[in-house]
């Protein structure tokens, strides 16, 4: 799994700098994710006991139905939610660190919407082109939006951080309207399949999603490990980073591209899920103050726990009704967003 692999490679690299509390926090989060995983596998319209789940996972299902339910429905869905959560959280952490903006989030500044628009356009206009290439389209759309925001916000010197967010909100509204227009125009059945995907639901996730998600996430890990160095320097501001020998502009562009790619992979699989990328880095930081490398690991774990937990709540709370995970993350995320807003220091935004 994505998180576990990152943890191991981090350990080799940063073995000396990892504080004990950080490692304990990481282990605690890992246990939390596993706990959510266990409950997710157990609960549903066909309830299973922990022992039965264990037997099924070990290849000795008590009944054939249990094997189908766990392996075909619950397990891929769980893995998808964990991976998507980690990807979105990391994307948010990267954006926040690079733009020095505590409120940056792929969904708030329009990156997720750009990815959605590209995917919906493909589904509606060329349904036969949809499929394994979907992450690529999402990446293209998200990248265009990110470039647009950067271009508009960075035009004038000073105060760029604040303009970045406001520009993003404006562009997000514009792109959502374009997506809605496409949905009106498209053939109804194609529009419906796009509509289901747009509400940020993990409902339909199967092994196909898990496969593409995990392959792409694995590809992102070396890039993330590389990213820690320049990010650590950029956190002190552009001048300090230049002094530390980082080429600021190229580093920034590469890091934002990386953040966009992470968000696009997640959006391509389950549609836009808001507020995870915004909140996970803050929660991780509140949990324990660590160096940047371990902070990223913790952020990924928090994100994984958030989305898998949101998906579990969404389908268990009002069963048999399925609430898309995107709704749950928004309902939980907005109040936390407001708290972050209230505690933010005036200077960091204005």
């Amino acid at each position: 799994m994505n998180d576990a692999l990152i943890l191991r490679s981090r350990n080799e690299r940063l073995a000396l700098t990892i504080p004990v509390r950080g490692v304990i926090a990481a282990c605690g989060l890992l246990i939390l994710v596993l706990l959510i995983a266990m409950i997710s596998l157990m609960s549903g319209s066909y309830p299973l006991s922990p022992a039965e789940v264990w037997q099924t996972l070990m290849g000795r299902p008590p009944e054939p139905t249990a094997a189908t339910v766990v392996w075909q429905f619950r397990f891929p869905r769980l893995l998808t939610s964990v991976l998507v959560g980690a990807l979105l959280a990391l994307s948010g952490a990267l954006l926040q660190n690079v733009t020095l903006n505590p409120l940056a989030d792929p969904a708030l500044v329009g990156v997720s919407q750009g990815a959605s628009l590209a995917v919906v356009a493909i589904i509606v206009a060329f349904p036969q082109a949809d499929g394994p290439l979907r992450p690529l389209y999402a990446f293209g759309g998200a990248l265009v939006v990110a470039a647009l925001i950067q271009w508009i916000a960075m035009k004038r010197a000073g105060g760029a951080t604040m303009r970045f967010i406001l520009t993003g909100i404006g562009i997000a509204a514009f792109i959502s309207a374009m997506t809605s227009a496409l949905l009106t125009y498209g053939q109804v059945n194609q529009a419906m399949s796009a509509l289901g995907w747009l509400s940020g639901s993990i409902h339909a996730a199967g092994w196909g999603e898990v496969r593409s998600l995990s392959v792409l996430s694995l590809l992102m890990i070396p890039a993330l490990i590389w990213a820690v160095g320049p990010m650590r320097a950029l956190r002190f501001g552009a001048d300090m980073a230049t002094g530390l020998g980082v080429a600021v502009r190229p580093a920034r562009i590469v890091l934002i591209t990386l953040a966009v790619a992470l968000a696009a992979i997640a959006v391509a699989a389950v549609g836009p899920l808001g507020f995870v990328g915004l909140i996970a880095p803050h929660l991780a930081r509140r949990l324990v103050q660590t160096g940047l490398g371990l902070h990223l690991v913790l952020t990924g774990l928090v994100g994984a726990a958030m989305v898998s937990g949101a998906d579990l709540i969404g389908r268990a709370m009002f069963a048999p009704l399925q609430i898309p995970a995107g709704i749950v993350t928004a309902l939980v995320g907005v109040p936390i967003f407001v708290v972050i807003l209230l505690r933010s220091q005036a200077r960091s935004q204005l």
Binding site: M162, R163, L166, A173, A177, T184, G326, L341
Partner: protein, 329 residues
């Protein structure tokens, strides 16, 4: 200059509204010649199919566009004047979301069917949304700046949007009719809701014109306004009520139409300067014309398919918002 403007301006605005009004009625799934449109308005003939279509479907829609456009533009101009915030607008500051949420909850969840209560519910929701957004923004370090207001507006809108989706999921049949309304549309709205909203529109616009002089003073700064003898606290409350009334009636008729209140006042200020005695009536006139144009575009661009009016206002308004952020902040 002023004299020419006072003579020529109103004539031009009213003239363009009339032309657009007739054009708006002529456009549609079956385009009707403008002459027939005019004829049906002055010499209504019950046996003519086109006349019946115009009277029952197209004329109400055009009237909705005029009133809603005027109300939202006036609401936006008052908000921008009183808060001295170039980005103030009913949609961005959570009023539209609050009103839609209240209407969806009342109609879909508690089975409210009386059209007379819909604007009341919408007003309660709009007031709640506005107060919530303002309270959050005022507590952010640095106070209620444009940025903190927009951010808390976005947060409240996202939260209420998620709640609306949740209610929709729990009872899909009841909400089918509300789904289109929620994207902001002038199509297929019922006349009886509009009739109940009409006093709200008229009352709101009268209040707006009545306070315009004081708003001009307040827009110059609080000290100036106090020096000119304006009771600021009282004025702010009156304006808040006026904005809530206008927004609520608009939402009850057409659903949430974003960015209309943002775009029009800025355009009007470019044309007539900073006197709200002129800005308010011109906003009403140009807002009405704007929504007529937008609604014509919504039906023409993808014909024979029709886009929701709210989508078009967002497509036009969002780039304008980005432009404002770049130039005014």
């Amino acid at each position: 200059m002023t004299l020419r403007l006072t003579m020529l301006g109103p004539i031009m605005v009213i003239g363009s509204i009339l032309v657009l009004f007739l054009w708006h009625i002529a456009v549609g799934a079956k385009s009707i010649p403008i002459l027939t449109v005019a004829e049906s308005l002055w010499h209504f003939d019950r046996t003519e199919f086109d006349h019946v279509v115009i009277r029952n479907l197209r004329l109400p829609r055009a009237i909705f566009a005029v009133t809603v456009g005027a109300s939202l533009a006036v609401a936006g101009s008052l908000m921008q004047g009183v808060t001295r915030n170039p980005l103030a607008e009913p949609g961005l500051l959570g009023l539209l979301a609050g009103a839609s949420f209240a209407v969806v909850a009342a109609v879909g969840f508690f089975g409210l069917a009386t059209p007379g209560w819909i604007p009341v519910v919408a007003a309660a929701g709009a007031l709640g949304g506005a107060v919530l957004v303002w309270t959050i923004a005022a507590r952010v370090p640095g106070g209620a700046t444009p940025l903190s207001l927009i951010l808390s507006g976005a947060a409240v809108t996202a939260f209420l949007g998620a709640l609306i989706t949740l209610m929709q999921l729990m009872d899909e049949q009841t909400f089918e009719s509300l789904r289109v309304w929620l994207t902001g549309t002038l199509a297929g709205r019922r006349m009886e809701v509009f009739v109940w909203c009409l006093p709200w529109f008229i009352g709101g616009l009268i209040i707006a014109i009545a306070v315009a002089r004081q708003v001009t003073a307040l827009a110059m700064g609080e000290e100036t306004a106090i020096g000119l003898g304006v009771d600021i606290a009282r004025l702010k409350i009156i304006v808040l009520i006026c904005v809530v009334v206008l927004t609520a009636a608009s939402v009850a008729v057409a659903g949430p139409l974003g960015f209309v209140g943002l775009v029009i006042p800025h355009v009007v200020r470019l044309l007539v300067g900073s006197d709200y005695r002129l800005i308010v009536p011109y906003s009403a006139g140009i807002g009405a014309a704007y929504l007529l144009v937008v609604d014509i575009a919504a039906r023409l661009v993808l014909a024979p398919a029709e886009i929701s009016t709210g989508i078009v206002t967002a497509l036009l308004g969002a780039p304008f918002f980005v432009w404002l952020v770049r130039t005014r902040l």
